[in-house]
Structures are given as C-alpha cells and as structure tokens.
C-alpha cells in the first residue's frame, strides 16, 4: 500500500471528496432551509443561506411548531435526559454484571451469562409489546424512568466488559486482596479506572443509540412534555392538509444533530483509543 503514483493519489482523494459531498449535501440543504422563511422554501428552493437563521431557531427553541405542544428546547432536554440515562445506565449495569460473571463463582454462572448473551438476539422491536405492558403496569408511562429503564439492559456492553475483564491478570485481584481490599474496592479502584477507555467508547455509541431512539418513546409518551426531539419532528410533519412549518422543522433537525456531533467531537480521542488499545 505504499505505491506513489500521482493519479492514484488523485483518484483516492477524488473518491473521498465525492463521499463527503454525498453525505454533506443533505445536511447542507437542511441548513439552508432552516435559514429561510417558509415562503422562500416552498416557492423555489434556494441554494444559499438566507437571513432568517436567528428568527427560525429562536422560534423553534422557545415556541415550537404550531400543533406539537412542546418547544424544541423542552424536547431536546427530554432527549438529552433519555440519552444520558440510557448511556450511564447501560454502562453501570453492564460493568456490574460483567464483574459478577467474571469474578464470582456462583451457581448457574454460565447459565446467566448465556441468558444475557441470548438477549442480544432480541432487539427492542421484538419485545416491545410485553415491555410496554410491564411499563404500563408499573405506572411508568409518560415518565423519564419509563423512557430509560427498559432500554438499559445491554448484552453487548456486558459482553464487551466481560471480554475486557478476562484479559485483566488475576494477580491484580490477588494483589488487592493482599493489600486489604475487598471486591468493591477492586471494582472501583482498579477495574473501573482500567476500563476507562472502553467506557468512553461505549458512552459515545450508547449516547447516539439513546438519542436516536424513536419507536419506544413514541409508544409510551402521550404527554407532550415527555416528547423526545425525534418524535417532535415527526409530529411537526403530521399536519394533514395544512402546510408544515418546514423552516422550523429544518431548524429542529439541525438542533437534533448537534449533541451527538458534540459528543463525537469531544470524545473522539478516547473513542479511538477505546476501540484500538487496552491499558495494561
């Protein structure tokens, strides 16, 4: 892979640029649409940004689009709470369950491991009806806990931490025992700090996963004040015969992209490290 041919360099760059353009173009049009008045977009679509940027975003954040009943600001907060709740919840639960499976010898240990593992094959959509029934019975409809808890269990993360813990030498655990620490100390003082990079990588993935949840929040929220942003955007489109507020919808879409992008930008170093190296 170290050939130095000018046309090859040109070709690879051209392909990369083309790829970037294909991905960037819809985002660009979204941005452009969010900066014009409704009339300007619906008549003939402009290709340069207009002058209504601040006005549109301000309206989206504080008032929202006519019939949804919640501002984008509220919905962003809901999405953020849900995404963070899912990310932190999943990480803590899977750290603990991986810890139990790797370091404790209890009856049916492998049985539990395989039970967790098998749930990998069941996505949210498959178990959505029974889960809804349970959440409804627990009176958790229209609540943050209802949004977060059913999505917290994660076989993938448990499996990932299990694999990582198995590479941690047993001597570290024994060294802690000799130093006078129990399992809890070993977990918090040694294992969690050592898993730092994996936790960061998982956080990025899980935050985006949580942020992009659509079906589950759609199913269990009827109260507008618990709408997440993705549902909000969908609701903004349901105007029947009327005219959708496209400029507001586009502004909301741009806003919906910001938090995941920020998470990726600020955590990319840890993310890459978590994916490629282990600290030992």
């Amino acid at each position: 892979m170290v050939e130095h041919r000018p046309w090859l360099t040109f070709l690879t760059h051209a392909i990369l640029l083309l790829g970037c353009l294909i991905i960037a173009f819809p985002i660009y049009t979204t941005f452009v649409a969010s900066t014009h008045s409704l009339d300007a977009i619906t008549s003939s679509f402009p290709f340069l940004p207009g002058r209504h940027l601040i006005e549109n975003y301000h309206q989206a954040l504080t008032a929202g689009s006519g019939e949804v009943g919640a501002t984008v600001g509220t919905m962003m907060m809901n999405s953020l709470i849900m995404a963070l709740g899912i990310a932190f919840g999943k990480i803590s639960i899977s750290l603990l369950s991986a810890f139990a499976i790797v370091y404790f010898k209890f009856r049916f240990r492998m049985f539990f491991f395989w039970m967790i593992f098998i749930t990998l094959m069941l996505p949210v959509e498959v178990r959505i009806l029974p889960t809804h029934k349970v959440v409804a019975d627990l009176n958790m409809l229209d609540s943050y806990s209802g949004l977060i808890f059913p999505l917290i269990a994660s076989a993938t993360a448990t499996f990932l931490f299990r694999q990582f813990f198995m590479t941690v030498p047993d001597e570290l655990c024994e060294a802690v025992r000799i130093d006078g620490g129990g399992p809890i100390r070993f977990f918090f003082d040694i294992l969690v700090p050592m898993s730092r990079t994996s936790i960061a990588a998982l956080f990025v993935i899980l935050f985006i996963y949580g942020w992009n949840q659509y079906l589950w929040p759609l199913l269990i929220t009827t109260d507008e004040s618990y709408y997440t942003l993705l549902i909000g955007i969908k609701r903004m489109l349901d105007v029947g015969e009327g005219q959708a507020d496209w400029q507001i919808i586009m502004a909301s879409t741009m806003l919906a992209m910001i938090p995941p992008v920020l998470v990726v930008i600020f955590m990319q170093k840890q993310f890459v490290r978590g994916m490629t190296e282990t600290e030992k």
């Binding site: 001597e171 000799i178 620490g181 700090p193």
Partner: protein
C-alpha cells in the same frame, strides 16, 4: 518479625491432590527458598501461605496463630508476583501507598513510609510515573516497595526475577539479598532457578511433584541430596547416574566394565550385593594418568566454557552417557579416551526402588 510453620499441609483441586503433606518450620528472619521444576506445586504452597488458596488439610501458623481461615489481608503478609501485578493506572507512589490507604493510615505516615521505601529502592525520581513508563527492573522494585511499606511479618516472592534479563537478574538477586539482610523480615521465595535458590536461601525446600523431597541448607542439598530427584535437579550440568552393584562386603562398588570404586568410610555392609544407582557430579571427575580402576570415557563432544571444559562422552560397553566438568581448558579430540577418577567421598548412592539416598 515472625516465624511461619507449615504443619502437614495438603491441597486438592477437586479430586486431584497436588500437595501431599508438607511440614516445615520457618524461623524468624529466615530466607526460605522453595525450589522445584514447573508444576511441582511450589507456587501453590506459597499461595496457601498467602491465603490465596484454601488449605485442604493441615495447618499454617504465623507467629503461632493458625491462619487457615484468615483472609490474605489479615495475615500480615506481603507478596511480590511474577508479573509484578502493579496497578497500571496508578503512579508509582499510589501503587505503593494503596495498601496503606486501604488500612486508613494517616497521610503523613503514608508519605513518610513511601519516601523511605523509595529511597531504599532508588525509586525516588520515579514516584510520579506510571508503571508502563518503567523498565522491568524498576517495576520489580516498585513491586518490592509495595511490600516494604506495609512492614509485614512475612514477605512472599513468586518467581519475582523470572521476567528480567540475565544481567538484571544477577543484580536484583544481590539487591534482594542485601534488602533481606537490612530488613530481616522472614521471607519465602519460590523459584525454579537453582542459582537463585543457592545464592539467596538460608534453607531450601526442594519440591518434587507435591512432596518436599528435601529441606536443608543449600550446601546440604548439594552435598548430600536426599533423593535421586534432588541430586539430578540441583547442580549444572546435571549429575551423572550409573547402574552399579555393591560388592558383597559393601566396601566397594562395581560399575559396568568391571571397575571397582571404593566406598567412603566403613562401607555399607547392609547393602552388600545389592543393585544401586550411583551418582557422580560432573565437576567431581578428575583426570588421572593411572589406568587401573579408572573410568574410561570416550570423548564425543567438548564444550569450552572458558574457565571450564565440559566433556560429553560414552562410558563402558553400554555406552552410558556421561558428562565431566574439568577445570581449565582442554582440547580433546572426538574419539579420544580419557581416564577419570572420583574421590570416594564424592560418590552418591541411591536405592534402586525408593530412590532415596543410602546414608554412609
């Protein structure tokens, strides 16, 4: 400061018994080396003393208190692991201080102890570094420092030098010995390296397949090995073994080729006429001019070590392989015949069946 006593300890993993009853009284301040080949159970014994393995049967007592049921932390021991087991995300200082922190020692006291240990081990300038920024020898010292700051009753070492290169190993060996002399803490050291064992230990426990084959000072073990296994394991190159027969009066040994070697002191009348195994260390052969009653070795291969010459050759009609280590340099040709003698007190006799030493 403490003595440790092992009283008839056994260890089984499931139905598989791996330690078959070991007893040993370790004196206060003594440096005991447990020596044996891989898989003989030496690390298991150490881990039982540490409390990392449950004792299946028997008792371990530290300072007279039976510690069978105590957690490692409550036994007041410290252990150096083969791979050091340093906490990778903590600095050297924190690594050493961790055990003290858990014990809720005052900050100032922790600081004082870590600084002192760092001085002893010449680690002062590395206190802020992470383990991965250190060389093997330095990591080794941090692992030692973690033990020293605790001021435990007993030090346990599990093959601590085996991951170091040869030169560093020699240096660390001396440092370990000096450290032991300075601190005087009872130490149990596991190794498969006989040079480490001979140079470090006040006494050795030579282990063979879960049994303590011999417990004694390094010289005792070398000069009077209790079993054929110990004789073959200690010493490099390994001891030569020959099938031999005691004459009926027990005063001389007949070896293949009709050669008679006299037995030291009064002879062994009890064993008169019996088949025995004769052991001779390579370094105890001497060249001789005399042809009568000398062993004739047909040279096969010569290794010049500088200070010594190793001669590998065949002996007798059955072409038994023998190795001799001769001081100084000799250029023997392949196929030449050497005449060798051994002084009677350097002969080792072992019972054919029990493989234990025949005392004379």
């Amino acid at each position: 400061m403490a003595d440790v006593s092992l009283r008839d300890i056994y260890k089984s993993f499931g139905k598989n018994e791996v330690i078959h009853g070991i007893s040993c009284d370790i004196q206060d301040g003594e440096f005991i080396v447990i020596l044996g080949p891989s898989g003989c159970g030496k690390s298991t014994v150490l881990r039982m003393i540490a409390g990392l393995e449950v004792i299946t049967n028997g008792e371990i007592a530290i300072n007279g208190n039976v510690v069978n049921q105590l957690e490692p932390a409550d036994r007041d021991i410290a252990m150096v692991f083969q791979n050091y087991a340093l906490y990778p995300h903590m600095t050297v200082f924190k690594n050493m201080a961790y055990g003290l922190k858990i014990r809720r020692m005052a900050k100032a006291e922790i600081e004082k102890r870590v600084q002192r240990a760092a001085e002893i081990l010449e680690l002062t300038e590395f206190l802020d570094r992470k383990p991965r920024q250190l060389s093997g020898g330095q990591r080794q010292r941090v692992a030692m420092g973690r033990c020293i700051v605790r001021e435990p009753k007993v030090f346990l070492f599990d093959e601590p030098l085996s991951n170091l290169d040869a030169k560093l190993r020699v240096q660390m060996r001396l440092e370990l010995r000096n450290l032991h002399e300075a601190l005087g803490i009872t130490s149990v050291y596991v190794t498969h390296d006989q040079v480490e064992a001979m140079t470090l230990g006040d006494r050795l426990i030579v282990m063979d397949d879960g049994y303590a084959a011999q417990i004694g000072s390094p010289l005792e073990v070398y000069e009077r090995p209790a079993t054929r296994f110990v004789a073959g394991f200690i010493g490099s190159p390994a001891m030569n073994f020959l099938d031999a027969r005691l004459r009926s009066d027990g005063k001389s040994i007949e070896i293949p080729g009709g050669i008679n070697l006299p037995v030291d002191s009064g002879g062994l009348p009890d064993y008169g006429g019996k088949q025995v195994t004769l052991g001779i260390r390579p370094e105890h052969f001497e060249l001789t001019e005399q042809k009568e009653d000398a062993m004739h070795l047909r040279v096969n291969h010569v290794e010049l070590l500088g200070a010594d010459t190793l001669v590998h050759g065949h002996f007798g009609d059955e072409k038994t392989l023998l190795t001799a280590r001769l001081p100084d340099i000799y250029h023997f040709k392949k196929g030449a015949t050497l005449s060798l003698t051994v002084s009677p007190e350097k002969l080792h006799l072992f019972d054919m069946e029990s493989e234990s030493r025949i005392q004379n």
